[in-house]
Amino acid sequence: MIRILLFLLFTIIKIHISFSQTDPLRPNVILIIADDMGTDVTPGYLTGNTPMPVTPNIDALRSSGVTFTNAWATPQCTPTRASIMSGKYGINTGVQKVPGLLDATTHTSIFKELANQTANAYSDAVIGKWHIHNTTDYTHPTQHGVDFYTGVFNSSVPDYYNWDKLVGASLVNETTYATEDFTDEAITWVNSRTSPFFLWLAHVAPHAPSHVPPVGTYTVSATNSFRRYVASIEAMDYYIGRLFSNIPTPVLDNTVVIFIGDNGTPNNHLKSYPATRGKGSVYQGGINVPFIVSGKGVTRVGETENAMVNIVDIYATILEIAGASLPGGIYNSFSFHPLLSNSSAPQRPYNYIDYQSKGTGGDDFAVRDSQYKLIQFSDGTREFYDLIADPFELNNLLPSLSVDEQIAYDDLVIEATYIRTDWSCRDLIQNGIETSIDIGGTYCAGLPVCTYNNFTSTTNIGCCDTPLPDESQYSEAVYNGVRYISTTNFPDHDYCYNTPAQKPTQIFRYFEVNENPTLAAEKTSITNITTNRPDMFFGVALNGVKMAPAPATPFIFENANTGEFNWDWIFEPTNNQGSGPDVVGLDCSSAHTGNQGYHYHGNMFEYAENIQAGLSTTTTAPSGPIQIGWASDGFPVLYRFAPDGVGGLALLQPSYRLKPGDRPGDGINSPCGPYNGKYTNDYEFVLGSGDLDECNGIARDVTLNTVCGPQTFNYFYVVTDSFPQISRCLSGTPNISFDNGTGSESCYRPLFQQKITLNAGESINVGTNTYNSVGEYQDIINNWDSSCDSMVVTRITAVLPLALLEFNARLLQNNTVYLNWTTTDETNFSHFMIQKSFDAVTWEDISEVRGKGNLNALNYYSLKDEIFNNNPIIYYRLKMVDIDGTFKYSSIQSVDIKSSNHYSIYHDFSNNEIIVQSIHKDSELLEISIMDIQGKEIYKKHITIHNGKNIVFNNLNHLSQGIYLVRISNHHNLNLVHKIIINP
C-alpha cells in the first residue's frame, strides 16, 4: 500500500514538473559553452583540421536548427563570458582580458534581468566554468543572481580526473571526468526543476590539458596532443547526447538549445587560419566561433545563416525567448530571436569585439559590416579586409583603398567611434539615452562625426636593391675643434624605392659640427616653429646618409573643401608607410629618396642590421654603445642601447606617448578622430614617462672611439624603437651646414685626419691625384679647390735647401747608438743639430754637424751617441738649419734599449746591401721580407741571425727606383720595419 501511495505521489509531482517545463510561453533554455573550440574543429564549419571530431549530437542540433556562420566572440574566455552575462561589449564591461572581474553591482546579469523581465518565472543555474572573477569570492555567482552554481570556479582543471569542484561555499576534490560530472550535475538539476529553467552549462572541454576521455566516449585514436584535443570534443558531444537523453522528451521539446564556442581554436591546434591568428587574436581565427541554435521555436530547420551575430546577443535573445519584449535588444545585445523563425528578420548591421591582447595598455578591436572588417591594434595601427573575398585575412587593403572600400572603411571607423564612445545610433537597439530605437541618442542627432581618413600603416616597402662598391663613401676629420664630414649620401646597406626615379643617387655633401659640443640654453627644433616646415636635417649617419625625420610636402592634413594644407598636422612618416598615394614609401631602413637624396625618417633597421645582425630587434645589450651618427650640434647619436648611468647599457625609452582621446578638429580644417599617431602632433612629451628628454637625448657621459681616439661626451641622442625614433630637435647648437637649404657639392672629397709628412720618394693619393713633393702638408680639408679634378695642397714650411734621403739610428754592442743620414741638393744650408729625447716630447741638443754643401752629390753623415742611463727607449731627430736660421725637423728615430731583441736594420749604400745588426747574445731564425710601399711582398726568406752584422740581402740592383720596406719578424714579439730608398 505504501508503495502504491509513493508511486502516485511521484507521478503527480512528475506531471506537475513536466507541465511547468512545457509551457510554450516559457521555453526552457540550455546554453552550452565549449571552451577553446573554434570553427576549424567544428563539423559544419571549416574542414582544415584532420582528423575532425565526430559529433553526432552537435550535428543533430545543426540539422534541426540554425547554424550561424558569422558569429563573433572575444578571443578569450573571460571577456566572452562577461559579455554574455552582461549583454555588453568589453569596452563597456571593462573585462577585456584574463583575469577580469565582472562587477555585480555595476552590471545587471542575464540572470537578474531574466528574473526582472519574467517576474521570477525561471529557475536558473550555472554548471561548470565560471571565471569572470579575479578573487576567491565564491558568492560571486549568487551576486549575479544565479540560483544554483557548481563547477570549476577558475579557468580550467589541472587534471580532468582530479580537480577541485565548488559546491556551495566549499571546494571539494573530484575525480570524475570533468565533462561527465558537469553533465550529471546538469541532468540532476534539470530533472529537479518545478518551473521553466535556464541552464548555463559551461564545459571546460576541450580546453587544455588534453587528457584522454573515458573509454567509449570518443572514436578518434588519441595518440597525440591534437588527437586528445579532438577526443575531448567528441567526449563533450557524447555527454551532450547523454544530457538530452536524460531530459524528458516533453521538456526537451520545449527547450531552446544554444551551442557556442567561447573563442577560437588555440594556436597550437590551429590549421585553417594563419598561424598565431587563433585564440588571443582579433583575426577571424580568434573570434569567429561556432554558434548553433535549435529547439523550441526554431522553425528554420537545418538552415545556415550568414547574418552577423555576437555572443553578446545571447543576452537579449534569451530574454525574448523567455517572453520579454525588447526594443531591438538591450545594451549592446541585439536579439536574433526573430531570425530563428524568419530569415528576413532584421540583422545587426555591424559586429564588434575588443580585447586587451597585451594585458596592459590599450585594447585591440575589430568592427565589421556584411563585407569589410576593420582592425585597430592597441598601438593605433589598422588593418582592413574584405571578408567575402578574403575570409582568412591574407590581404590587408590598407593603405590603398578603392572608392567603395574607402566608404566602408570610413563608415566602420565611425561605428567603432560610436561604440567605443557611447551607444551607437545605428545598432538597431534602443540603448543609452535613446528614446526609441536609434533615436535620441548622443550621436543620433547628426552631431559632427569624424569621416576623415585616419588610417595608419607601419609596413615598409622592404629591401629591393644593393649598393655598388664605392657608392657609399664617408670620411671624417677633426681640425681646430671642428669635425668635418664628407659623404656621398648613399646607403651602404640594402634599400628600396617605389619607382626607378626614386632610386638613390650619390649626392655629395659636406658637413661641419663642433668637435666638443656643449648644451645650449634652449633646444632647437628641426622644423620652423612658425611655419612647421622642415628647416634642417637632424644629423648624419656614419654611412653618410642624412637623418631627416621631419615630414614635409605633400604629407600634410588637407582641407577637403579648399585644398589648403594645415601645417599643424603633418603626417608622421613612420606611421604612414606603403606604396601609393598619401603614404610614404619608406624602405627597410625607414628611408627613402627626396630631392635632397636618400634620408632616414625613422629607426634605421637595415643599416643597424648591417652593423650587427639582430641589433634592430634584440633586447640584449651589446658589449658597448653603438654610435650610428652625428647630430647637427656635434653630439653623438647612439642606436637603441646607451649607458644606463650605473655602468651598464640599457634599451632607453623615449618619453613620448599618444595623446588620450580624440583630436579636437572637425575633420575639415583639422583632423578629427582618435589620436593614433597618424600625425606628429598626435604625440605628447610626458616628462618622466621614459628615459629620454624631449630631444630623445640624455645628459649622461658616454665614451666613444672617434677618429681622434676615445672621446667622452656629456650628452647623447638615441634612435629609439618608438616615436620619435629620430629626434626632432637639438639640445646643442646645430651647425648651418645641416640646413635644408644648403646646397650639395659637385664631387666627393675624402678627408684625412692626420697631417701628412712626405719624405723623399714618398707620395700620397688624394682622389685621382698623386702628391710626392717632400715636406709636411697642412690638413687637406682646409685646402679645397673649387674643382673636383684637382686639389690645392699648401706646404706650411719653407722648402729647405736640402733633401734628406735617409736617417737611421741603431744600437751597437758597446752601449752606443749609431746615427747615420744621407742628403743631397744642399744649397745655402748651415748645419744639423742632433737632438735626443727619452719621451719624444722634451728634446736636448747633443751635437752639431756642419753641412757639406754638395749640390748634386750624396752627402753621408754619421754620429755615435754613448748611452749612460737605463731608459728603455731613446728617440733621435735632426734639426736641419738653413743659413737664414729657418729650420725643419726630420722624422723621429727610436732605439729600443731594453728589448731582448736587439735588432736593427740599415741599408749599406756603398755595397747596396741590407744589414741586420744584432746585439742579441743568442742566434735566432727570423723571417726577412722586402715589400713595396703598398705593402706588397716582393721577397721573403728565413735567415738565422747571429750576434753582430748579418747581410740579409746583398744584391738589390734589380730593384727599380723607389721606396721599399724591409721587415724582420719572428711571428712572436718581433716585427721591425725599416724603409729603404733605391736610387738609380
Binding site: 614635409a552 585644398g563 614609401g585 657639392e745 682646409n782
Partner: protein, 147 residues
C-alpha cells in the same frame, strides 16, 4: 681658403618624396612678385613632348595651363630662367606688376594633370607675412585664396 660649391642651389624647398607633384611658390621680394616653379623633369618633357625645354616653350605651356588673378586683376608673368638637374626643372618667373595689398588670389592650374592622372600641383604663397599652401589636382583645378 675653403670653398664649398653650392651645386643645387635651388633645392632648398621641402622634400618631394614619392608623390607626383609640381610646386609653385609665389612670393614678394624687393617690391617684385615672383613665381618659382619646380617640375619633375620627366613629366614636363612628356607634357611638352620635348627632351629639352626652352623659356619659350615653358612660357607658352604655363600661359596655356595657368591663370593668376590677384585682387581681381589678371596677372601676366615672364619666365626669366630655367635651371635643371637630374630630376627637376626649376622655372623662375616674375609677374608683370606687384600688388601691394593682396586681398584675394584666384589660381587656375592644369599643369601636368592630363599627363599624369595622380598629379598634384602644390601652390605656396609667402605673402602678407603668412605661409599658406594649397593642393590642386584633377578635381580641384581652381582655388580662391582670401587674406
Amino acid at each position: 681658403m675653403k670653398t664649398i660649391i653650392l651645386f643645387f642651389t635651388f633645392i632648398s624647398s621641402p622634400f618631394f618624396h614619392d608623390i607626383e607633384i609640381a610646386k609653385f611658390d609665389v612670393y614678394q621680394e624687393n617690391d617684385n612678385l615672383y613665381l618659382n616653379i619646380k617640375f619633375d623633369k620627366e613629366d614636363l618633357n612628356l607634357a611638352l613632348k620635348k627632351d629639352k625645354v626652352t623659356k619659350k616653350t615653358i612660357q607658352n605651356y604655363l600661359n596655356k595651363n595657368t591663370t593668376w588673378v590677384i585682387n581681381h586683376q589678371n596677372m601676366k608673368f615672364k619666365v626669366n630662367e630655367i635651371l635643371e638637374d637630374r630630376l627637376f626643372y626649376q622655372v623662375k618667373c616674375i609677374f608683370n606688376k606687384t600688388i601691394s595689398n593682396i586681398k584675394n588670389i584666384e589660381v587656375y592650374n592644369t599643369c601636368l594633370l592630363e599627363e599624369t592622372k595622380k598629379h598634384s600641383n602644390i601652390i605656396s604663397f609667402q605673402l602678407n607675412g603668412k605661409n599658406r599652401t594649397f593642393r590642386m589636382h584633377q578635381q580641384r583645378k581652381k582655388i580662391n585664396v582670401n587674406y
